[in-house]
């Protein structure tokens, strides 16, 4: 018996006798052949009291430098937004935390209504009429959108902007290798998708086109133009969007995007070293019956009362099995709940205010950094929450380390994913990074770049 089980010696005796076996081992012996039974104890450390598990996990936590411990401008797909306290409270409630997927609508109206509200919020955000109740996270949402396109039009070629998150491109490639689609990458030009190359790449065999808004370099793409270029092809236009700037950026639904997916972490979810968060998945009406995952719908019950249920389940694996639109089962309900609570917390005006604030601060930060010796803009496109600079040949990894030693994480080394930007640095803003923080970044980065150039100079 452990702290989580309850079979006392007295219970055990009665239970075994009711079953008619003489020991628990007999239950296993009679069902599992001897040659596959584990004849030894598991080679794992002994169990620990709660306080010691806490102590151990706290020590591990202390070996990490979190966004609580440094001034961080690291983004590149996940962002250190403030998660309001109401979210912790609501997600911590047993009633939201512990139920399974709402298979019994009578005792799951809370979850079902929350899903429905979440879908409504995503529709509002994206300007697309249908949304599912969540998929795993951003990059796999992109890949799932690819699968949707594959099912919808069967065309074998996917055109992918190099501005799409590297993880999305990689994940899409992994999935596409399975279901069978070939990927053609379109390069960037002046920080955005090369419009000419993009248009040229799209043809009658194109099943889907993929871009990101803002793109990985932080630049705002001309989404409407990118979508328009695919208009005369069979391609499904798929955009991966950051939801935060959608308070000020033209929504995908108004740009001709067919499927909008994205990483939901920024909507009230913690960084958590990368997950769990959620992926959102919205589309035009045309793709409703191709959507992956759960969808909650509104209905009226036998008593004439309004209620919510899982709907269009004939798309799903538990009904359609090999003919399902996706294999997804467990998704990210709790994280999506955080998403709708966060959007409610921000509210209609708050999302706009947040977008405008980030726009101003991002501009200010870019101005401060490019004013530094040895730092130049990597592109001049409009940026709303993240931007890229070049460190003029300095070793960016070393620059970052120097900054971190001063308590400032200046961002992401673009060279990790883009050979063409070996000295690129991607700098992200959130509402948690104040002007004072930006000024401190400028100071620390300036010193670090100077020091690195001196080193390089000295060793050259």
């Amino acid at each position: 018996m452990t702290q989580y089980t309850a079979v006392t010696d007295a219970d055990l005796a009665e239970m075994l006798s009711a079953i008619g076996v003489s020991s628990v081992q007999e239950l296993f012996d009679r069902q599992i052949p001897a040659d596959v039974r584990l004849g030894r104890a598991l080679d794992l450390p002994a169990g620990l009291p709660e306080q010691e598990v806490y102590g151990h996990l706290r020590e591990l936590a202390r070996k990490n430098v979190s966004a609580e411990d440094e001034i961080t401008f690291l983004g590149a797909g996940m962002y250190d937004h403030y998660v309001p306290a109401v979210i912790d409270m609501l997600l911590g409630r047993s009633e939201f935390l512990t139920p399974y997927t709402p298979y019994q609508p009578e005792v799951s109206q809370g979850n079902l209504q929350a899903m429905f509200e979440y879908q409504t919020a995503i529709s509002e955000l994206t300007g697309l009429p249908v949304s599912n109740a969540s998929v795993y996270e951003g990059p796999s949402a992109v890949a799932s959108a690819g699968y949707l396109a594959r099912l919808a039009n069967g065309k074998p070629k996917f055109i992918v902007s190099r501005g799409l998150h590297p993880h999305s491109r990689e994940t899409l490639a992994t999935y596409a290798h399975g279901f069978g689609a070939e990927i053609v990458e379109v390069p960037l030009k002046d920080g955005v998708t090369d419009a000419a190359a993009w248009a040229e790449a799209i043809d009658g065999e194109t099943g889907a086109v993929f871009f990101q808004q803002p793109n990985f370099l932080g630049a705002v793409e001309d989404a409407a133009a990118l979508a328009a270029a695919a208009k005369d092809s069979p391609a499904v236009v798929i955009g991966q969007y950051d939801p935060i700037p959608l308070g000020i950026i033209k929504p995908p639904g108004e740009c001709g995007v067919d499927v909008c997916v994205g990483e939901g972490q920024t909507l009230g979810n913690r960084l958590d070293f990368g997950g769990p968060s959620f992926g959102f998945f919205a589309a035009t009406e045309a793709y409703l019956r191709r959507m992956p995952g759960r969808i909650a719908g509104e209905t009226v019950d036998a008593d004439g009362r309004r209620g919510f249920v899982l709907t269009l389940q004939t798309r799903e694996q538990h009904i359609r099995r090999e003919k399902a639109t996706s294999n997804i089962c467990t998704a990210q309900a709790l994280n999506a709940l955080a998403g709708v609570v966060y959007l409610t917390w921000l509210g209609k005006q708050g999302l706009v205010d947040l977008g405008e604030l980030l726009l101003q601060r991002t501009h200010y930060a870019r101005e401060q950094l490019v004013a530094l010796d040895g730092v130049t803009a990597l592109h001049d496109q409009p940026v709303v929450r993240e931007f890229a600079v070049s460190c003029n040949g300095a070793d960016v990894g070393a620059v970052i380390r120097r900054c971190q030693d001063e308590g400032v994480n200046p961002g992401y080394a673009l060279g990790r994913d883009y050979d063409e930007f070996p000295d690129g640095l991607l700098v992200a803003l959130t509402e948690q990074r104040s002007k004072a923080d930006i000024d401190r970044l400028a100071e620390v980065l300036g010193t670090a770049v100077a020091a690195e150039r001196a080193t390089v100079g000295a060793s050259a």
Partner: protein, 493 residues
């Protein structure tokens, strides 16, 4: 039973004249004013201008906004998000929450879902800022704790499964399945073979066949024998060198451990195919038997089942996979590596022939923290106790149902004993009492119990799949059995 302490103080005179237990009355039309409010969405509440959010002040010199973002790229119509104050927000969602049945309020014997207790310690440790506010792209030197945790978890999962090489990346069971099937594809491709058939028993969970299709392969169904195991003849007939893989759940969704597993493995391996273990039912065998020892090549774990992630009303989950030596080269990157000096790193090219990534970053780390805490709390012995008790509880409940005569209308579909769960067939009940499994399910709700999984697995008519888990008390199992008996009696009368 503890003797009840008799510190009984009685109420002030007169107070007993009232009912002390208030229930919102159920009106004839089923809608009291409080109930009417309940299905009103947050979008229908609030009023223009209300807000819960206070934006930080603009602290940088303001630049005309259209200069920074030209009108052509700008949003015109504002997204119609809710407009509510913080108190409105809180009340709305707290009230919504109370319309869910949850594990902390009652028995939740949903078969195949392993609704075991979710220790709150896990929420506490996962909330530590060193875990919760750690950016996934933080430099490895500055995320040593996270990498160590993941490394330790990989090793523990490797030990439990008997398959040493682990990738934590997949986001849920179905995602792990996809990883596994893509791994299988890579394995065969690496050997210059194109194999596209995947065998799945008819008892398989829907995610298995759906995954196969998604990975560009074809499902071939294998039958079930009268004992609930794989029909060996059917398997032999279908196993040939066009077969890529057999996906198996063991114990399967009938709660039956397939006694022919060694033979099955042999048949599959003999034709050069891989053997995939759907780990949704791992809770039956932890510390008792290991997929690796049974000959499986790939296993996925549902951390949200066996390793007690809270289910969150449908996620998050986490579906790590463990594989044998021969599947290792194809695992997803990045790989966590431990240097000789004990430090950890993420190697983007750690597996040479990797199938690539299946998602962003390193997986659902917040889930890893919780499941790792669980493993630390229980240790090897405790995990074994969990499985032993899960199997004991299931068999005890089954025995109680037999004793109470419930089994007459609801017989066990296969076998005599069961592993951690069992399937009853509601066919006799439907025939004799004219009630269906769904009716039974609804009536259980009136008694404060969540119904078991119904109408799955598909091959059992009017199926009722019951998984009590190890964290329930005998008293709860007794009460549940009594209620099932009562409901049948009620139907008989």
């Amino acid at each position: 039973m503890t003797t009840f302490n008799d510190n009984k103080l009685h109420g002030d005179p007169g107070i007993e004249a009232h009912a002390l237990h208030h229930e919102i009355p159920v009106t004839s039309d089923g809608a009291t004013p409080m109930q009417r409010d309940r299905a009103t969405t947050i979008f229908e509440k609030g009023a223009a201008g209300r807000r819960a959010f206070v934006a930080p002040a603009l602290d940088v010199p303001e630049v005309e906004a259209t200069k920074l973002l030209p009108p052509a790229l700008r949003r015109d119509a504002v997204a119609r998000l809710p407009e509510v104050s913080e108190p409105e927000l809180v009340r709305h969602y707290v009230k919504l929450s109370r319309r869910n049945f949850d594990l902390d309020t009652g028995f939740y014997p949903l078969g195949s879902c392993t609704m075991k207790h979710n220790p709150r310690l896990h929420e506490r440790v996962a909330s530590l800022s060193g875990h919760a506010r750690l950016h996934p792209l933080q430099a490895p030197e500055r995320s040593q704790g996270a990498l160590e945790l993941m490394y330790n978890l990989e090793r523990a999962l490797g030990e439990v499964s008997g398959l040493p090489h682990v990738s934590l990346q997949p986001s849920a069971g179905s995602h792990g399945e996809l990883a596994g099937v893509l791994l299988t594809r890579a394995f065969h491709e690496d050997r210059g073979q194109v194999r596209t058939k995947v065998l799945t028993p008819d008892t398989a969970h829907g995610t298995n066949p759906a995954t196969v299709t998604m990975a560009g392969m074809t499902v071939v169904k294998v039958g079930t024998n009268p004992d609930g195991g794989v029909d060996l003849d059917d398997l032999r007939a279908k196993a040939d060198d066009t077969v890529a893989c057999l996906m198996l759940t063991n114990p399967n969704t009938l709660g039956v451990f397939d006694p022919n597993i060694t033979e099955i493995a042999k048949i599959v391996h003999d034709v050069g195919a891989t053997l995939y273990y759907d780990g949704a039912n791992l809770n039956a065998i932890m510390g008792k038997a290991r997929p690796g020892d049974m000959g499986f090549d790939i296993v996925h774990f549902n951390l949200h089942k066996s390793f007690t992630q809270p289910h969150g009303g449908g996620g998050p989950g986490s579906g790590p996979i463990a594989v044998s030596e021969r599947m290792k080269p194809y695992l997803m990157n990045p790989r966590i590596v431990r240097a000789d000096d004990g430090s950890f790193d993420l190697d983007d090219h750690g597996y040479e022939k990797s199938i690539g990534r299946l998602r962003g970053f390193q997986g659902n780390y917040g889930c890893f923290v919780r499941s790792y805490a669980y493993i630390c709390s229980l240790g090897g012995e405790g995990l074994k106790d969990a499985s032993e008790t899960a199997v004991l509880n299931a068999n005890y409940l089954l025995a109680r149902l037999r004793r109470l005569g419930v089994a007459d209308q609801l017989p066990l579909a296969f076998g005599v004993l069961c592993m951690h769960e069992f399937v009853l067939s509601g066919a006799p009940m439907k025939r004799d009492l004219q009630i269906r499994t769904l009716d039974l399910a609804k009536r259980l709700l009136d008694h404060g119990f969540h119904p078991p999984t119904v109408y799955f697995p598909l091959l059992v008519d009017e199926a009722l799949l019951i998984e009590p888990t190890e964290t329930e008390t005998r008293e709860t199992l007794d009460a549940f059995a009594d209620v099932l008996a009562d409901i049948l009696r009620e139907a008989r009368e």
